[in-house]
Point group: C2
Chain length 316, copies 2
């Protein structure tokens, strides 16, 4: 398989590249290094089966040229900064919606008809049904991030219907593990590294969140794509549990051996558009034979251990 990975130098994209190379596939990683890291791709630069292209998915011409000659596209490039949406409304539109359009058009030009897409549980907004299945009632968007990913999903579905593509859309919960660079664990870790006596927490700490370990996520992506039906497929990814922000804080502080004073910004939501409760129903992907190996607690612990032993990640 000749795989093309947008966001191929990022947390999940670079981890996927390693997995595919280890299985004997050829990989092209396409990344603009806005959040991707050289640190995550160095180990592959001498590998003949690997190619790294520095480019932006908004540069449609460069993207289309780079994509030629591949069999499958993993479209992982995205703006993943959910919280900053309202400060930069154009960013989600460009990096998540228009970028996905560019990827689809490049695939069409290159004659590639198979793809995987990293969507998000955020597209469920604040659902009424928990755990939330893929077929839950038509949701109302609560964040620009969710709206931009929903738009990406819609485009992909329409390309499946109109141009005969086969796609797997994966609605991720937050992903944790090695190479993690963005989210509450690193935020808390940064704070506690600077001052172990005090931790500022967005919201009231009672938000219920779901997480998934990156290698479990990649198992699901590869398994789902392998088992996909022709046309449009959508799968929730996550564990069958959730933790509160406070429980997550407990795991992190115990792992670091600190006992900070906890200071809450207050409110049920950490920020406007934050979901107070995320728990996805993953029966659909589990029915295909996948299940996660790590619990949320183990994922958080692995992430903290990774951050502790990889100080370079904090410098990005």
């Amino acid at each position: 398989m000749r795989a093309f990975i947008t966001g191929g130098a990022g947390f999940i994209g670079s981890s996927l590249a390693d997995r595919l190379l280890a299985s004997g596939h050829r990989v092209t990683a396409f990344d603009n290094f806005s959040t991707g890291r050289r640190l995550f791709v160095e180990q592959n630069l001498a590998n003949e089966q690997y190619r790294l292209i520095e480019g932006d998915v908004l540069d449609a011409e460069k993207l289309a040229a780079a994509m030629r000659g591949h069999d499958v596209v993993f479209h992982l490039a995205a703006n993943a900064d959910v919280r900053g949406g309202l400060d930069h409304p154009r960013r989600d539109l460009e990096q998540n919606t228009i970028a996905t359009f560019n990827v689809l058009e490049s695939m069409r030009a290159a004659g590639i008809a198979k793809m995987a897409f990293s969507s998000t549980g955020s597209i469920y907004g604040e659902p009424q049904v928990f755990p939330t299945p893929e077929t839950c009632p038509f949701p109302v968007q609560t964040s620009l991030y969710g709206a931009s990913k929903l738009a990406g999903e819609g485009l992909i579905a329409a390309y499946c219907a109109g141009f005969g593509f086969t796609a797997c859309v994966f609605r991720f919960v937050s992903i944790l593990g090695e190479r993690y660079t963005h989210g509450h664990v690193i935020d808390f870790y940064r704070q506690l590294k600077a001052d172990g006596q005090r931790l500022r927490i967005l919201g009231n700490g009672l938000q219920r969140k779901s997480y998934l370990y990156v290698q479990d996520c990649l198992d699901a992506v590869l398994h789902g794509l392998d088992k996909a039906s022709p046309g449009f497929n959508v799968f929730n990814l996550g564990t069958q549990e959730f933790v509160t922000v406070n429980e997550s804080v407990g795991v992190i502080t115990r792992a670091l051996g600190v006992e900070p004073r906890l200071e809450y910004s207050g409110g049920e939501r950490g920020w406007v558009g934050d979901s107070p409760f995320i728990l996805l129903d993953t029966a659909k992907i589990r029915a295909l034979g996948w299940s996660p190996r790590l619990t949320i607690r183990e994922s958080v612990e692995r992430t903290v251990a990774y951050l502790v032993r990889t100080p370079a990640v904090l410098e990005g």
Copy 2:
């Protein structure tokens, strides 16, 4: 009320302008005349309460400047050519998704926080539930048109959540009536005017479709906006009936006094992405006190009568 109407020279937009002016409101119509018609706005050009601005919703700067000083935005400008989506994939993205983003950003810059948006029943794809309610299971997109309108809805919902907007999204069935310029009635009328002996029909004629009379649609839009809750509101619009394409053909040919030979392209769908069955559940808007006055048959008859007496419409 100072109303700003994008697509204000179009079928529905110009009809809305007339209604608002008649009720004593001030109206600015913004239109690029790609499908809008001078014929539809001439009657208002001398009215001091009316302003016509020729501009494109993709010209963000001009749009933002034009929008200042209004209280409410009716965002009706759109690419409504559902069938041509696959020939011009960029068109739906630009004219329906990016344009909606431009409208929202212009509103934010102008301090306008109230809007109505013309969405579509096409966002339900091929639903499993009939009549289809607003809260039906999370749909899969089957057309670029539907996907682009879904993206517009998502952006609007996120702006309601993030910036305190109040919006009414109306999911229209196909609209008929005076100033109608696009769709199966005009397609059939054009054919029959050229040759009353023969009518080519896309699909097998058994597609079940819903229609709504334009003045009933405008009643619903104005009523819905008036009764809207703060934040995001979504309403299906339509009648509680459907007709097959063949029944529609019968109404049109009887109205014109012709008996053509019917030639079918075949298949359950008229084109890739066509919905073989559209019937929206309108209980939500009806519960607010709205109901349509005309049946589908009456709407088709009025549309044919309008086309017969307004040959200029065929020249566009």
